[in-house]
């Protein structure tokens, strides 16, 4: 086994893969959010649709799309691999668990929150990406968004998913820094604040979108 393979199959190497792919997916969240913020431009979705069209048709975006799916896949595969090996190490459970007194809940249920986010992603990708790319809905992306978010049940699903995403990132971001070996005393505050952007600000910004369209729908704005 060469050095790279032995590194990537080691416990620390696999964690590093989780952190790197996690960061890559996190960087996509920023891109996704930036484009989505054009939903709020007061131009009946013209800017948003221009960007959506660009993302769907530009030849340079396609390889990035494939890279993004590969990132998701790797994050999931390595995550499942780690979960599988870790659960086997303590076959006999403790009769009394002191976990709530020595660690944060978010750190202990990453597999659960990750799985919930995955379920959301499947629904989300089907609703927007697959429908608009592979089926001719005859609607612009803005119309698709505004119709989807007019449904309160759909909105509730999105908001719940965002809570879990935030919870996943609450542990994930600082955990990745720790795995990279960067979570040292002098950087700890900086990392904690950077993590707030990911686990709080970004999910809240995303949550504002279904709420905005629901409000617009209820008040007859659209």
């Amino acid at each position: 086994m060469n050095r790279l393979t032995s590194f990537l199959t080691s416990s620390v190497g696999r964690k590093l893969l989780m952190g790197l792919t996690g960061f890559f997916l996190g960087s996509f969240l920023i891109v996704h959010l930036t484009i989505n913020l054009f939903l709020f431009a007061s131009d009946e979705g013209r800017t948003f649709d221009t960007y959506s069209e660009f993302m769907a048709s530009h030849p340079l975006i396609r390889p990035l799309e494939i890279l993004l799916f590969a990132g998701f896949l790797l994050h999931m595969v390595v995550g499942i691999w780690l979960w599988w090996t870790n659960r086997d190490v303590r076959r006999e459970r403790y009769a009394v668990s002191g976990a709530s007194e020595n660690s944060a809940l978010s750190s202990r249920i990453m597999f659960v929150t990750g799985t919930i986010v995955l379920v959301f992603l499947v629904v989300h990708i089907n609703t927007f990406f697959i429908q608009s790319r592979f089926f001719s809905t005859g609607k612009t992306m803005y119309e698709l968004v505004s119709e989807t978010f007019a449904n309160p049940w759909g909105d509730a699903f999105y908001l719940a998913a965002l809570v879990f995403l935030g919870y996943h990132l609450k542990h994930g971001v600082q955990s990745a820094f720790q795995t990279f070996g960067l979570r040292v005393h002098s950087y700890r505050t900086l990392i904690d604040w950077l993590a707030v952007i990911f686990w709080l600000l970004i999910p809240v910004a995303f949550a504002s979108m279904p709420l905005y369209f629901l409000w617009a729908h209820l008040t007859g704005g659209h």
């Binding site: 080691s10 416990s11 076959r91 002191g98 007194e101 660690s103 990453m110 720790q178 795995t179 070996g181």
Partner: protein, 246 residues
């Protein structure tokens, strides 16, 4: 003070284990947790029953021999203290206390509360040392080490290898133990010669022993009787990345 103890009893490594309940009475509040078990054992011996097996040696928190999971906490509820340093005054009078051994696949139970921790010894053999070349010991002041560095190395060296980190971790990961051992030597000039191989070999041995991967829950730091910081795990990760990739 009076207590009801639910203690894990297991005859041998292969035998099926289970909890047995004992009542102990008139325990002085200043007694240590091990002394509580001594009182119970004296009583069991008087009755002609098999005493409870548990590891212990120095009884002053420096040898790393003792280690019980008390009400779900490695070494018990009092932070920064080994089982031998837990005082019964930290428990409620009449409390029911559940006592279990460290539970982890690489730490098989030998008897009752005694587990086999030789997996740690094998990790140490893989690189937790400095090869000493014969010759006169250098003067202490011939190797200048800045005070903060010496302090941090000493903090890591405080690890007594008790295994509380493994016992507390949901994945039974040995990262804090290995981190402390790698860190103390990585910080000092004497450790530089074998620095790269040490991180590589100790982590390879840790994985081979079957310890889980680190989920960064930091339960280990919270339960460590020597309060060893997870900052050392960050250093171990850096050492390993450096050894493997750079």
């Amino acid at each position: 003070m009076n207590f009801t103890l639910k203690i894990w009893r297991q005859k041998s490594r292969e035998a099926e284990g289970g909890f047995k309940t004992y009542a102990v009475k008139d325990i002085p509040p200043d007694a240590s947790f091990l002394e509580l078990l001594d009182v119970l054992n004296a009583d069991l011996i008087r009755k002609g029953e098999e005493p409870i097996a548990f590891d212990h040696d120095c009884r002053e928190g420096i040898c790393g021999s003792c280690g019980l999971v008390i009400n779900g906490r490695s070494h018990g509820p009092h932070k920064g203290a080994a089982t031998c340093e837990q005082r019964m005054r930290n428990f409620r009078d009449g409390e029911e206390i559940t006592v279990e051994p460290w539970r982890a696949k690489p730490f098989p139970i030998l008897k009752d509360l005694v587990v086999d921790r030789t997996a740690f010894d094998r990790i140490m053999l893989a690189g937790g040392y400095v090869s000493v070349r014969t010759g006169g010991a250098p003067d202490a002041n011939a190797i200048p080490i800045p005070k903060p560095v010496a302090d941090e190395a000493m903090d890591a060296a405080a690890c007594i290898g008790c295994g509380a980190c493994v016992a507390a971790c949901k994945n039974a990961s040995a990262m804090l133990f290995v981190a402390a051992k790698v860190s103390q030597l990585a910080l000092l000039p004497q450790g530089q010669a074998e620095r790269v191989e040490r991180a590589e070999r100790m982590i390879a041995q840790m994985d081979a022993e079957g310890f889980g991967a680190c989920s960064n829950t930091y339960a280990c730091e919270a339960e460590c009787p020597k309060k060893i910081s997870v900052t050392h795990i960050a250093r171990l990760n850096r050492e390993f990345i450096r050894a493997k990739l750079i």
